[in-house]
């Protein structure tokens, strides 16, 4: 069983995936995400895998497909990968990080998309 929920933070669309993502669910989830991004105004997408208990190459395919679509739309995308999980090891095997920004946390992922402006430092500091 799996599903996806959406959220917004600043100028970023958050897609929270949940459950097991396999051949039976991936295609459907992919369609939902792509549809959502198409209507969203946010300039970036973060796919959150924190609550994904299982993910195989079908899920990988989903992520790459969405990522390609976002690039085509000129919008950056990042993936939140919970560390030490089977999901993380799968993504490591397929070298997801070489193509898509990844981060263990949502904040980290957003920061990847839009790095904060460096603050001005006082001369004395």
């Amino acid at each position: 069983m799996s599903d996806v929920g959406f959220d917004h933070r600043n100028d970023v669309l958050l897609a929270h995936l949940r459950g097991e993502i396999d051949i039976a669910s991936a295609e459907h989830l992919q369609d939902v995400i792509l549809a959502e991004t198409r209507f969203a105004d946010e300039s970036g997408l973060v796919v959150d895998l924190s609550d994904v208990s299982f993910l195989d190459s079908s899920g990988v395919r989903l992520l790459f497909t969405v990522h390609r679509a976002m690039i085509e739309q000129g919008r950056p995308m990042a993936v939140v990968v919970p560390q030490g999980t089977t999901v993380a090891s799968v993504l490591s095997i397929v070298e997801m990080a070489s193509v898509v920004w990844t981060s263990p946390t949502i904040d980290g992922a957003i920061e990847q998309l839009f790095p904060p402006e460096p603050e001005a430092h006082s001369p004395s500091s």
Binding site: E20, D22, I23, A24, F54, D56, S57, S58, V60, R61, T86, V90, I93, V94
Partner: protein, 1184 residues
């Protein structure tokens, strides 16, 4: 007197033999008449008389004009004038001659005796026969007034009489008669024969009586004209000779004279005997000395000849030795190989003539008659008396003759020097007339000298030949000695560096080389200097760290033999690139010797000289041997270092074990100091009751001090108070009563109720209270107090009793606490020796219990162990070391560890017991029992073996319990070499095996069968391990166990080793494949990471199968199984076959598979595709 006139009367004139008126009246005439010997004495007497003025008396002899002697005695006195002055003498004289003669005769006898005594002294001082004879003859002649004497002694051996002394005979007159037969018809012989003296025989009578006497007498020798007296010398052995005295007229020997002569003869006979004995001894001694002297001389000859190795020198010394010992003049000739004679030595007693003798030899070579004869025949030439004719015969020329005549030769010997039968030389010896001539003895002696000379010369020759051989041998010995020195030094060198130091030091010293070094050949083929000598410290020796190729070191290694150069030219020709090094170091001649050990080159030994050096054969041999010893020593050093490391490790291990053992022992000491089980509460209550009765109090209580820092006081026991709730109370420093007792150790007695309402456990109705501290182990452990509800005094007796009770209570409490503590320690120790937790194994459920004996603080020896083996099998053991305490615990630990190791090694149960039995013997025959079993959950087969241990109980699900009672043998360590039997049983799934120690079933006075039956009854119907062990313990053990108990329950569960699932070929099937697989894997105890990875792989493979499945409705089949340490998964679809590169066109799934699995193969199977995957998994541990 003034007139000097002497007036005599006629009678006086007669006294002086003067005719009447014959005296002229002169004083001088008077004096002249007095015997000259007496004259002075008479004058002195008269003078004294005149001076003294008194009378005087004189005795003196008077010489009459006819020559006869008469004795006269005179008396006189001085006359004085008117003035009283002496003016004259007046006296009378009488003839006393007759009286004097009588006196003299008397004195004669006395004289004989004195004379004899004098003779005795003279004789005893004379050592020789001749001397004694002279004394005897002189005395006899003097005593008797004989004209001559002759003394002869008998020579018994020859039956002759020999004259040994004479006196008063014409010189030479007796020569013809010096020696004559004893039986000769002569008076001397007759007296000597018969021992009968002859006194004063006349010549005529003798001539008549002895026929030969006339001839003797006529010949004039004895010249007898008067009488003859002959006295025999007789000893106890008979006559030994006689003394003859000749008188010129017919003297008759007086009786006194006869006595004297006989006494003299008697004394002298003994003296002669003694002297002759002495002389014969002396002769024998002299002969012996002479022989000895000759022997000494001969050995001196031998010694001298062997002292020099030069034959000529030996002969020269020989000649010097012979002169003057043997001859006055000696000449030695050697015969040359060509037969010619060569004078080797000439010696002469007179050094002045030695040169002349040599010259003579030169000028007149020896004649054929002398040496020529000796050389030719090998016989000696011996001329004892050289006469003119002989000289003439020998002389070669007139000049020669004159020369040898001048020498005055008296005697000549020429003896050959022979080697074997061949004459190689001759010794000529001469004496002159001044010396004794040679006799036969001298010849024999000379020949012996020559013989020895020959031996000496031969020895010298042989010696010379031998000398060369020996020189070689001595050289070898010398090198051998050096090698031995090295060997002995090496024996103390334990490390390679020490060995190298010895080799370099000894090697350089032995060769007197300038430098040396020892190099080790390293693994990488480089040489590393280990020790060197003769180089500055900062200058590495020749060819430092040189590679093994090139240079003397490399060449020696390559050649496996000594490589040497002896000059700088040779060195530079051979190794041109060493020129710089040579300049720097200065080695000119070098030898590099490989250190070989069994054909293995360990390194090189290098020696160098700074000057040219020719290496001798011995030196090479020495170097080679030294190198061999060095190599062996290296090997020994290496082994030593290995051994030392091993010993160190062992020692450390032993020390660790020892420390552990010590700790256990200390623990045991503490433990054993404790008491056996004490029912403390009972004891305390009894004590309080007794106390209360004794002092008549209402209450009695014991409060114990708790652990610091709280100083809580806990009521341990109380009597006389309602309710048994024992609160813990705090004794604060402010608490006036308890603080005094607890903190200050004071006893408190009070009847002030206000003061004693403090103890909350004692209701405030107490009126009086006495409290004393309880001391144990030097500290206050509590308070004992007694209270009264009515006011009463506590007497000193009461207090004393309280104190005594407190003492005993304190002790009991202390010991009880100690016991509790120790019991806890013991149990903790026991548990620490047992497995902390049981392993988790797929298909098996385990439960174990250990219960310490409740009445004992000692550690028991019961143990159990479970060891997981490969393939899911397990090995389990339960054992019991007989005995208690640390020893049993230690043995138990060893058994347990050994069992683990042996089981993991793969030994079957019986073989493990074999080895444990050996271990038991090794531990000093620790008597122990054990059951070993091995269970294979895959098959349900259990193999087991028992060493005197109670049989395990088998509990099949829903079936009757039974015992694993085969495979039994004696306890461990009973019989060396026991081969334990092994039995196998088949278990059905769900069966539990209960293994236990005898503490579970044994009861005193009960048979084993009864115990087993009870166990069976208690266990029946229960297979869950945890519940089983608990219920069995509940049923079989009481609260007070004497023995400890160990038990282990093993339940064999069916483990599905294979999993199969076939689902329709549709996407949602994939999730189901995952779920079902996960259940199977987790139940089988596969580790979580393995499960996750396998599930992912299965998901991928199944996804592929679904995605590419053929006809709608076709299925996907998943099969998975454990195979050893692998999980094999196959996923098969029934779709059409497509080549793999098309199947995994997107590649990611396949890539994931390959990352997760050890093997992935994709193959055609039937009309579909099969993906086969293998993954090596970690040890399976089933989830509990």
């Amino acid at each position: 007197m003034a007139t000097n006139e002497v007036v005599w009367d006629e009678a006086l004139e007669a006294l002086y033999g003067l005719p009447q008126g014959g005296f002229d009246g002169r004083y001088e005439t008077y004096l002249s008449l007095i015997h000259p010997d007496d004259r002075d004495k008479s004058i002195a007497t008269i003078q004294a008389s005149i001076a003294g003025g008194g009378e005087h008396r004189v005795e003196h002899r008077v010489l009459w004009p006819d020559g006869s002697v008469h004795w006269v005695e005179g008396w006189g006195r001085v006359t004085r004038n008117a003035d009283g002055e002496v003016d004259g003498l007046i006296g009378v004289s009488v003839d006393i001659t007759e009286r004097k003669r009588a006196e003299e005769r008397l004195r004669e006898r006395d004289g004989w005796i004195r004379r004899l005594q004098g003779i005795t002294a003279a004789i005893s001082g004379s050592a020789s026969v001749a001397e004694i004879a002279q004394v005897v003859i002189a005395q006899a002649v003097a005593a008797t007034g004989a004209g001559g004497g002759v003394l002869a002694l008998i020579d018994r051996s020859e039956g002759a009489l020999e004259i040994v002394g004479e006196s008063g005979f014409r010189p030479g007159g007796l020569d013809p008669w010096r020696r004559f037969p004893l039986d000769a018809e002569l008076p001397l012989a007759a007296v000597a024969r018969t021992g009968t003296p002859l006194w004063g025989a006349s010549a005529s009578w003798l001539a008549e009586r002895y026929r030969s006497f006339g001839a003797v007498s006529k010949d004039g020798g004895f010249g007898v004209s008067g009488t003859v007296t002959i006295v025999p010398f007789v000893t106890q052995d008979g006559p030994i000779g006689a003394l003859g005295l000749r008188f010129t007229d017919d003297v008759v020997v007086s009786l006194d004279e006869q006595d004297f002569l006989l006494a003299l003869a008697g004394q002298s006979a003994q003296a002669f005997d003694r002297a002759r004995l002495y002389e014969s001894e002396r002769d024998a001694r002299e002969a012996a000395e002479e022989a000895e002297s000759r022997l000494a001389f001969l050995s001196r000859v031998s010694e001298l000849l062997s002292a020099t190795l030069d034959p000529d020198e030996a002969l020269r010394r020989l000649a010097d030795l012979v002169v003057p010992r043997i001859a006055e003049w000696c000449s030695v000739e050697a015969i040359e190989p060509d037969g010619s004679l060569r004078n080797v030595a000439v010696a002469h007693a007179d050094p002045a003539r030695a040169e002349w003798a040599r010259e003579s030899r030169r000028r007149f070579p020896p004649s054929p008659d002398g040496i020529g004869y000796v050389v030719e025949t090998g016989h000696s030439v011996f001329v004892p008396e050289v006469d003119e004719a002989a000289l003439v015969a020998v002389a070669q020329t007139q000049e020669h003759l004159e020369a040898i005549q001048l020498l005055g030769l008296a005697s000549v010997m020429i003896v050959p020097i022979k080697r074997g039968t061949a004459v190689v030389g001759a010794i000529s010896m001469f004496t002159t007339s001044q010396r004794e001539r040679f006799d036969e003895d001298d010849l024999v002696f000379a020949e012996e000298i020559a013989r020895r000379a020959a031996v000496g010369l031969e020895n010298a020759r042989l010696h010379e030949a031998e000398r060369r051989a020996r020189h070689g041998a001595e050289l070898a010995v010398e090198w051998l000695a050096r090698l031995q020195a090295v060997t002995s030094s090496l024996s103390t060198a334990l490390t390679a560096t020490a060995v190298a130091d010895v080799i370099v030091r000894e090697g350089v010293a032995a060769l007197a080389a300038d430098a040396g070094s020892v190099w080790m050949l390293e693994q990488d083929g480089r040489l590393h200097p280990l020790a060197w000598r003769g180089y500055p410290d900062d200058l590495p020796p020749a060819g430092s760290s040189a590679a093994a190729d090139g240079g003397p070191l490399g060449d020696a290694i390559a050649a496996r033999d000594i490589v040497s150069v002896e000059s700088p030219e040779e060195m530079l020709t051979r190794w041109p690139r060493l020129a710089a090094m040579r300049e720097r170091v200065g080695d000119v001649a070098t030898a590099a010797t490989p250190l070989l050990l069994d054909e293995r080159v360990l390194g090189v030994f290098y020696v160098a000289f700074r000057t040219e050096h020719r290496f001798q054969t011995q030196e090479r041999a020495f170097l080679t041997t030294l190198a061999r010893q060095c190599a062996q020593a290296f090997e020994r050093a290496r082994l030593y270092e290995l051994e030392r490391a091993r010993v160190d490790a062992e020692r450390e291990a032993r020390a660790t074990a020892e420390a552990a053992r010590m700790r256990l022992q200390q623990l045991q000491a503490i433990t054993e100091a404790g008491l056996a089980h004490v029912a403390l509460d009972d004891a305390l209550e009894r004590m309080l009751a007794a106390l209360r009765a004794a002092i008549g109090s209402d209450t009695a209580a014991i409060l114990l001090v708790g652990e610091a820092p709280h100083d809580d006081l806990a009521v341990r026991a109380v009597l006389g108070v309602e309710g048994r709730g024992l609160p813990t109370m705090h004794a604060s420093p402010d608490d006036p009563l308890l603080s005094r007792v607890v903190h200050h150790g004071q006893s408190v007695v009070t009847d002030d109720a206000a003061e004693i309402d403090i103890p909350p456990h004692v209701p405030g109705e107490l009126a009086s209270l006495a409290a004393v501290p309880m001391r144990a182990s030097g500290r206050i452990v509590g308070v004992l107090h007694a209270g009264s509800r009515v006011q009463r005094p506590f007497t000193n007796d009461d207090l004393e009793l309280l104190h005594l009770a407190a003492e005993r209570v304190a002790l009991a409490v202390d010991r009880a606490q100690l016991f509790e503590r120790e019991h806890r320690i013991a149990e903790t120790l026991q548990r620490s020796l047992l497995p902390e937790r049981l392993p988790e194994l797929p298909g098996v459920q385990l439960a174990a219990r250990y219960l310490a004996g409740s009445t004992d603080v000692q550690v028991g020896g019961d143990w159990y162990e479970v060891v997981p083996l490969s393939g899911g099998r397990l090995s389990a053991a339960v054992g019991d070391v007989v005995g208690r305490g640390i020893r049993a615990a230690a043995a138990m630990g060893q058994f347990r560890n050994a069992m683990r190791a042996l089981a993991l090694e793969g030994l079957s149960p019986a073989r493990v017991l074999d080895r444990l039995s050996e271990l038991s013997i090794g531990l000093g025959r620790e008597f122990a029992t054990a059951t070993m079993l091995e269970l294979d959950p895959g098959t349900g087969l259990v193999s087991y073996s028992s060493a005197g241990h109670p049989p395990p109980l088998v509990l099949p699900p829903g079936g009757e319990p039974w015992f694993l009672d085969r495979g039994r043998s004696t306890p461990l360590g009973v019989e060396p070499g026991t081969a334990y039997p092994e039995a196998v049983a088949q278990l059905t799934p769900g069966t539990t095996v209960l293994v236990y120690t005898d503490g579970l079933i044994e009861r005193r006075g009960e048979t084993l069968e009864k115990g087993l039956a009870r166990l069976r009854a208690a266990a029946v119907g229960e297979t869950d391990p945890e519940r089983l062990v608990d219920s069995v313990i509940d049923a079989l053990t009481g609260e007070h166990r004497e023995d400890d108990v160990a038990l282990l329950a093993i339940r064999y569960m069916m483990v599905p080793t294979r999993f199969e699932l076939r689902l329709p070929s549709e996407p949602r099937s994939v999730a189901r494949f995952r779920t079902e697989s996960r259940v199977w894997l987790e139940e089988a105890g596969v580790a979580p990471q393995d499960v996750e990875d396998l599930i992912l792989a299965i998901s991928e493979a199944c996804s592929n199968a679904v995605e590419h499945a053929g006809a709608e409705g076709a299925g996907v089949a998943l099969a998975a199984e454990f195979r050893d340490e692998d999980v094999i998964v196959t996923v098969q679809d029934s779709g059409r076959w497509q080549p793999p590169h098309l199947r995994f066109e997107r590649g990611r799934g396949f890539r994931i598979l390959r990352a997760l699995m050890n093997d992935v193969t994709v193959s055609r199977r039937g009309d579909g595709t099969e993906v086969r995957m293998r993954r090596r998994i970690a040890e399976r541990v089933p989830a509990s």
